[in-house]
């Protein structure tokens, strides 16, 4: 029964989690898996916290998981990983973009950005922190950070057998194919080394 793999993507509205989940689920479908994907729309464009869940395997029933359910959590922002850590299996993995996006109470000076987020994560669960935004910037555009994380996810979830590059190419705008593919490759390389 339990051969379903659960991936959770979390971040801040506008960071490109949706693109990653759509590339991921397209590839999983092409590879013959049953796939369910769930996202909560709504306030996403207004800088709120966003989550997407992708589940795949032989047969998937529920489109969502509960606490302790995620095999891999990919967090596009540092403290968001901590916000959602309860959803990660103790034996699961966290991939976190080492980038801080302060939320409204922090901007207003009423709360502090939590210190030592990455160390805290590392002390609790297998965590890989990636400077995905810096890597993407070096590749030409910080927005491609999402594909760096995607590359890392592919390795972490053991999905290297799927032909991802054509799927990326058919999902992003033509002008951004090279950038996104490079970012994806960079993400994979990080995990291998």
């Amino acid at each position: 029964m339990r051969e379903v793999t659960n991936v959770m993507l979390v971040g801040v509205g506008g960071q490109g989690t949706i693109l990653v989940s759509s590339v991921l689920s397209k590839g999983l479908v092409a590879a013959g898996h049953d796939v369910k994907m769930s996202e909560v729309h709504g306030m996403a464009q207004r800088g709120g916290s966003v989550t997407t869940q992708v589940r795949f395997g032989e047969k998937v029933h529920s489109p969502i998981i509960g606490r302790g359910g995620a095999d891999v959590l990919v967090s596009f922002e540092a403290m968001e990983a901590l916000r959602w850590i309860e959803f990660v299996k103790p034996t699961g993995k966290v991939i976190v973009n080492d980038q801080q996006i302060p939320s409204a109470p922090i901007l207003a000076g009423r709360r502090d950005y939590p210190v030592g987020v990455i160390d805290m994560l590392k002390s609790k669960v297998t965590t890989t922190a990636i400077k995905a935004t810096d890597i993407a910037t070096q590749l030409g555009n910080p927005r491609a950070m999402n594909m760096v994380l995607f590359g890392a996810l592919v390795e972490a979830a053991g999905l290297g057998d799927v032909e991802w590059e054509p799927i990326i190419a058919s999902t992003v705008k033509a002008a951004f194919v090279a950038l996104n593919v490079n970012a994806y490759r960079a993400g994979r390389r990080l995990m291998v080394h």
């Binding site: 049953d34 709504g42 800088g47 969502i64 509960g66 302790g68 309860e86 939590p114």
Partner: protein
């Protein structure tokens, strides 16, 4: 496992739209509302075959679909659950008529109130209005049930309620669609005995309605959407909608299931038979005990809401804890150090200038011991009530700001409470039901101040066109309704159209309105920053600057600019100074106008 490569990953909304298209629907109308919006956005893509429209509100949407149905076409209307309240009047009556072309109404409920003002369970509308109901649990079912809904509608001569929930609407799963059936228009024949609901006619139709429900009850017993799945019989689960998926996840093949997809009228015999063949009977459903009440009335013992929460959405974890008492192993971690990340008005949002100034005026009124109430409404501008703008007292339902404001103002005036009411609502909300509310102010003579925050689009639900954007849902150019002309036409003599980004203009307009002892309207006109501007808009609405920055030499760290609540501005606690993020800033200049020291200056955008 290799699947047929014709399977597509579709959201429930896309699948429902595709199902309606394949069922031969040729007219669809809706008012946007999360989680239903993408149904119309998806069916609108079939421009050659389907006329798809945004109506000004849900009542109008359903009524126009009813008109299409009476004219002989298969028709669809879709709305979020609170929209069904708005459309309930035509719904209950059209149930008496029955249909000509099939009619399906989608109710998209929002358990957990992800983006809603209440958590009503609209399954109760089906027995209340006496119409059949379908409840899909994934995208494939959305597709199949939607196709069948039209056959049911026409063969039983009834509108059909199609009840979805957020997780069904917005989850994607695999769908194998087939092809569109071209359904010829049914002839329209004038038939007063069917469509003219005067008491003499309705009295007779009332009896037919009962007879129809009896036939539907028989159908429910054999309908393919109500099916049993036999496995271990120690535990039997009766379930519907998304809860079926959670139940399967938790119990797997360790229980037998009665999976109900056609849920009004419910299949009594099927339920009794299933119950008699299993040991413990669980009823697993999200929100209210809809199935459970029915099952108990049949005299069947079951376990339901005494264990499973009736509040907020379920997930497999909650079901397992409730019924099996199991807790998954989780990572224990103190997450209280993580500050919340609430949604905020975007950088450059035209609502910001208005609310920043409204907040200042009310502070001045406070000082003069004059009281005020700000009646809010539903839309992005609802965030004007959040910290640090804090310029709102209440928000009830769409279009209610002027009317709630009016009632309050009348009472304050009569009891001499020295309180002025300022109502705020968006452009789409004004067209939705704000117009009759404004008429109420004029007709019944209160001095309520109404502010229409015209950002030239339906923002909150994701940039839908509306009656004054100049375009229809299917992208056709159309008449651009003037808010100002409407406001004057209903009899408001004091109307000002202002630029909400010019704080002085906002201030003057509000001060003037406060001096008047008559109804007045302020229209703030500036497009949403996320809006894809038309060529004319690009000319009319130029941003003031590429972006702004703080002049560190001049800034004394007073923090006033923080009061506009812009996500591009942050306070550096170490230096006590503020900072503007050059990438996030949209150059709206609201902070610049707020600064008393000239410390905020124009800058050029740093291109990423």
């Amino acid at each position: 496992m290799i699947r047929s490569n014709s399977a597509l990953l579709m959201s429930g909304n896309e699948a429902a739209a595709r199902g309606a298209y394949d069922a031969g629907v040729s007219f669809a109308a809706a008012y946007p509302g999360t989680p239903s919006t993408e149904i119309l956005e998806s069916i609108a893509l079939y421009k050659d075959d389907v006329m798809a429209e945004w109506a000004p509100n849900e009542k109008v949407a359903l009524e126009s679909a009813i008109g299409a149905s009476i004219a002989g076409a298969r028709a669809l209307s879709a709305m979020k659950m609170v929209g069904v309240n708005v459309a309930a009047d035509p719904l209950f009556s059209y149930a008496y008529c029955g249909v000509n072309g099939g009619l399906v109404l989608v109710s998209a409920d929002d358990p957990s109130l992800h983006s809603s003002q209440n958590e009503q369970d609209n399954r109760f509308y089906a027995p209340f209005a006496k119409i059949p109901m379908l409840e899909p649990s994934d995208s494939q079912e959305c597709y199949e049930m939607m196709r069948s809904a039209y056959a049911i509608s026409e063969s039983f001569d009834t509108p059909v309620l199609f009840r979805m929930t957020t997780r069904v609407c917005h989850s994607k799963s695999l769908v194998t669609p087939s092809r569109r059936s071209e359904v010829p228009l049914r002839p329209y024949v004038k038939n007063l005995d069917k469509f003219d609901l005067v008491p003499a006619v309705s009295r007779r139709l009332r009896l037919e309605l009962e007879a129809r429900m009896e036939k539907l009850a028989e159908f429910s017993e054999t309908c393919d959407f109500n099916r049993t799945e036999w496995h271990d019989r120690t535990i039997g689960v009766v379930t519907s909608g998304i809860a079926y998926q959670y139940a399967r996840e938790v119990f797997g093949d360790g229980a037998s299931y009665l999976k109900l997809g056609f849920t009004n009228p419910l299949p009594k015999k099927l339920i009794a038979d299933f119950a008699s063949k299993v040991g413990t009977l669980y009823v697993i459903e999200e929100l209210e005990p809809y199935l459970e009440n029915h099952i108990r009335r049949l005299g069947i013992t079951c376990i339901g809401k005494e264990k499973i929460p009736a509040v907020y959405e379920l997930n497999p974890d909650i079901v397992a804890r409730a019924l099996l008492g199991t807790e998954p192993p989780v990572i224990s971690c103190d997450t209280s150090v993580v500050p919340p990340r609430p949604p905020v008005l975007c950088a450059g949002c035209p609502h910001r200038g208005f609310f920043a100034e409204l907040g200042k005026i009310t502070t001045r009124l406070d000082a003069k011991r004059q009281k005020y109430m700000i009646a809010g409404d539903i839309g992005c501008y609802g965030l004007g009530g959040a910290d640090p703008l804090n310029a709102m007292d209440l928000c009830i339902c769409m279009g209610s700001a002027p009317s709630v404001g009016h009632g309050a103002q009348k009472v304050f005036n009569k009891f001499d409470a020295n309180t002025r009411v300022i109502a705020t609502l968006g452009d789409s909300t004004f067209f939705h039901t704000g117009i009759p509310a404004l008429i109420d102010i004029v007709y019944n003579r209160s001095n309520t101040i109404t502010c229409i925050l015209d950002n030239r689009i339906t923002g909150m639900t994701g940039q839908q066109d509306n009656p004054h954007t100049g375009f229809t849902l299917q992208g056709e150019p159309t008449k651009e309704l003037s808010i100002e002309a409407v406001v004057r036409a209903v009899g408001v003599d004091h109307v000002r159209v202002i630029n909400p980004m010019r704080l002085e203009e906002v201030d003057e307009a509000l001060e003037e309105a406060l001096r008047l002892d008559e109804p007045s309207v302020i229209i703030t006109r500036w497009p949403c920053v996320l809006k894809k501007k038309t060529e004319e808009e690009k000319v009319e609405f130029r941003p003031y600057a590429e972006c702004f920055r703080i002049d560190a030499e001049v800034c004394n760290g007073c923090g006033l600019c923080m009061q506009v609540g812009c996500p591009a501005i942050s306070l550096d606690r170490a230096t006590g100074r503020t900072r503007i993020d050059p990438i996030a800033c949209n150059g709206c200049s609201v902070c610049e106008q707020t600064c008393n020291f000239g410390a905020i200056i124009r800058a050029e955008r740093q291109h990423a």
